[in-house]
């Protein structure tokens, strides 16, 4: 096995009419690693996945998956990838077992192997009990899991998952995270897009942040967080209080200007000194006769990175 990256994209561009969906996107994903693709809605995450999965041709640039060109060797690429798109793409009028067997047959497995593989995956995704019911009677979360199972039928070397945990309950999400870790440990390569920064933080070896079709940041989760420096002092204004007044009282205190989240009446101040800042904070609040509903000093999360990079405060889609 050479050290050729499992996914390599160079200068990928894609235009839809007047909209530049992707512009000069580079990606390098080593075999056996997981790349987390982050970005707000409309950033181009799905478009790059569709190009790498041979569903869409790029207008410019080139990409290889498992060493094969996604345009010129598209058919061969399809034999080595698994794709789970944004919606649970399973046939509601077939049973789960029938769905997986169909995919297995279409992926080129002989009949008996397709049946065996379907059984394995149903066990592994904890769906065996409902395996012989038509899928339309299932819950959304179960269908989502079946969709991910379907993407694994052909034992793909490279797996593309477009927001795979959307609609999963916490247990389903944890199970999927564990499964993805197992897969990469066994040598598979995973590219997943997500809105959940916690997910990327927990799973990804590398994170790429897309915004408006461009890569605006790339690195390990630790590197990205380090870019923001220091800690975050987070204050919640008292109900009815103006968070701008709170921000005014804190001006000049941190390593950067206070950021105000008006909607949630919250003020975040980047600080360098750790807990040493707290006496000064108390003094300032007392001088202005301000109270706060809640106060926390914490390490930056990927939410902070994401919001700082995309400048889309309040639209992170994260759990709060």
């Amino acid at each position: 096995m050479g050290e050729r990256p499992a996914i390599l994209a160079e200068g990928i561009g894609k235009r839809f009419g007047a909209t530049m969906a992707l512009e000069d996107v580079d990606l390098v994903v080593p075999a056996g690693s997981l790349l987390g693709l982050l970005g707000p809605n409309g950033a181009g995450k799905t478009t790059i996945v569709r190009i790498l999965a041979t569903l869409l041709r790029p207008d410019s640039g080139r990409a290889t998956v498992a060493g094969l060109d996604v345009v010129r060797q598209a058919a061969a690429v399809r034999g080595r990838i698994g794709l789970s798109g944004q919606y649970a793409a399973v046939d509601g009028y077939l049973t789960a077992r029938e769905n997986l067997r169909m995919i297995g047959r279409l992926a080129g497995l002989p009949r008996s192997a397709a049946a065996r593989r379907a059984g394995e995956l149903l066990e592994r995704f904890d769906l065996a009990a409902a395996a012989d019911r038509t899928v339309r009677t299932w819950s959304g979360g179960m269908r989502r899991r079946l969709d991910v199972a379907a993407s694994l039928v052909g034992r793909p070397a490279v797996l593309f998952l477009d927001e795979p945990t959307t609609g999963l309950d916490p247990r389903g999400r944890n199970d999927l995270w564990r499964l993805l870790s197992e897969l990469t440990a066994q040598g598979a390569t995973v590219l997943l897009t997500t809105q959940y920064l916690e997910e990327a933080d927990r799973l990804a070896d590398t994170i790429v942040v897309l915004d408006n079709g461009r890569v605006i940041a790339a690195g390990t989760p630790t590197q990205l967080k380090a870019r923001l420096g220091g800690d975050r002092l987070e204050l919640q204004a008292m109900p009815g209080d103006d968070p701008e007044r709170l921000a005014g009282a804190l001006a000049g205190m941190g390593s950067g200007p206070p950021q105000v989240d008006t909607e949630n009446a919250r003020v975040v101040v980047p600080v360098a000194g750790g807990p040493g800042i707290l006496p000064e904070l108390a003094a300032r609040l007392a001088a202005q006769q301000l109270e706060v509903a809640d106060l926390a000093l914490r390490r930056p999360t990927l939410d902070d990175v994401f919001l700082a990079l995309t400048n889309q405060r309040g639209t992170s889609g994260s759990r709060s």
Binding site: R50, A53, T54, L55, L56, A75, A76, R78, G79, R80, I81, G82, L83, G85, Q86, Y87, A88, A89, V90, D91, Y93, L94, E98, M102, I103, R105, L106, A107, G108, L109, P110, R111, S112, A113, T134, A150, G154, R155
Partner: protein, 273 residues
């Protein structure tokens, strides 16, 4: 086929290429669609209630008024036309299904698999043909109960069914193409019906062309529905069939040569919204 053990080759390499793969994939997709046919209630109704209704309604509603020359029972004249009508209406469900598959991401899933490119559409149209065979049998049975007979012997009866199935394949591909173009299930169903209704009523399906106004006769004569219905009618009623058949087959082949490549190309570029 059971001796092949897993080797380092990818599954795609294992199944072989070209026609073998197309046939294997098409069979799998046909199976999927046949499962759906018996499980989706509206599809069951389309395949049973609707054709029976057509036979009975048109025979009794029109039968008293229309007396085509040289035919003793209107049902003998009507049934070959009703074959085409029922098959053409039923085919609109193919446009609906393909549009649904587009919207639900099924077609993305299929396109990311190492499948033969035409298999998803070919499997759908093959399942339609199986459904149509059932529908034709049902309509023949209902027709026979109210007086329909094949007058030209068993070989011509078999040829009738085969020709009607071939017409059905054309309608299935037309509707598959419509589904891929229109992309929305309801619009696709409507587009399928709107394509067919004007053609059916300006053809020889219900009435002899000679009873139409002159300007309409000119169109009715070149209407492919007239040509195929006339060929089916010739096979059912007896009499000279060669010219009718030749024209019908020419239309079928010509339409397939256009719609099949157009639909397959469209499919390859298709994507979920």
């Amino acid at each position: 086929m059971s001796t092949t053990t897993a080797v380092a080759s990818s599954p795609a390499d294992r199944i072989g290429n070209g026609l073998t793969k197309l046939l294997a994939n098409t069979t799998t997709v046909t199976g999927r669609n046949l499962h759906r046919l018996v499980r989706v209630p509206t599809l069951v109704a389309f395949a049973t209630v609707q054709p029976m209704m057509f036979v009975l309604l048109f025979t009794y509603a029109f039968g008293g008024a229309i007396h085509p020359p040289g035919v003793a029972h209107y049902v003998d004249y009507l049934l070959p036309g009703i074959f085409v009508l029922a098959i053409a209406f039923g085919a609109s469900q193919t446009g609906v299904a393909i549009a649904d598959d587009l919207a639900s991401g099924m077609i993305d899933r299929f396109r990311a698999l190492p499948m033969a490119r035409a298999a998803v559409l070919a499997g759908r149209t093959a399942a339609d043909a199986v459904r149509n065979l059932f529908v034709l049998g049902l309509m023949t049975g209902v027709g026979a109960a109210i007086g329909f007979r094949f007058h030209a012997g068993p070989a011509a009866a078999v040829a009738t069914i085969i020709l009607a199935l071939a017409v059905g394949v054309v309608f299935s591909w037309i509707n598959a193409l419509l589904g891929l173009l229109v992309r929305d299930a309801e619009s696709a169903g409507l587009a399928g019906l709107l394509t067919v209704i004007p053609l059916i009523f300006t053809s020889s399906t219900f009435v002899p062309i000679a009873t139409m106004p002159g300007w309409l006769q000119a169109f009715a004569r070149i209407n492919p529905i007239t040509i195929t219905v006339d060929a089916l009618r010739a096979l059912c009623l007896g009499g000279p069939t060669a010219t009718h058949l030749w024209h019908a087959v020419a239309w079928i082949v010509a339409l397939l040569l256009v719609t099949v490549p157009a639909a397959v190309i469209r499919y390859q570029r298709a994507s979920a919204a």
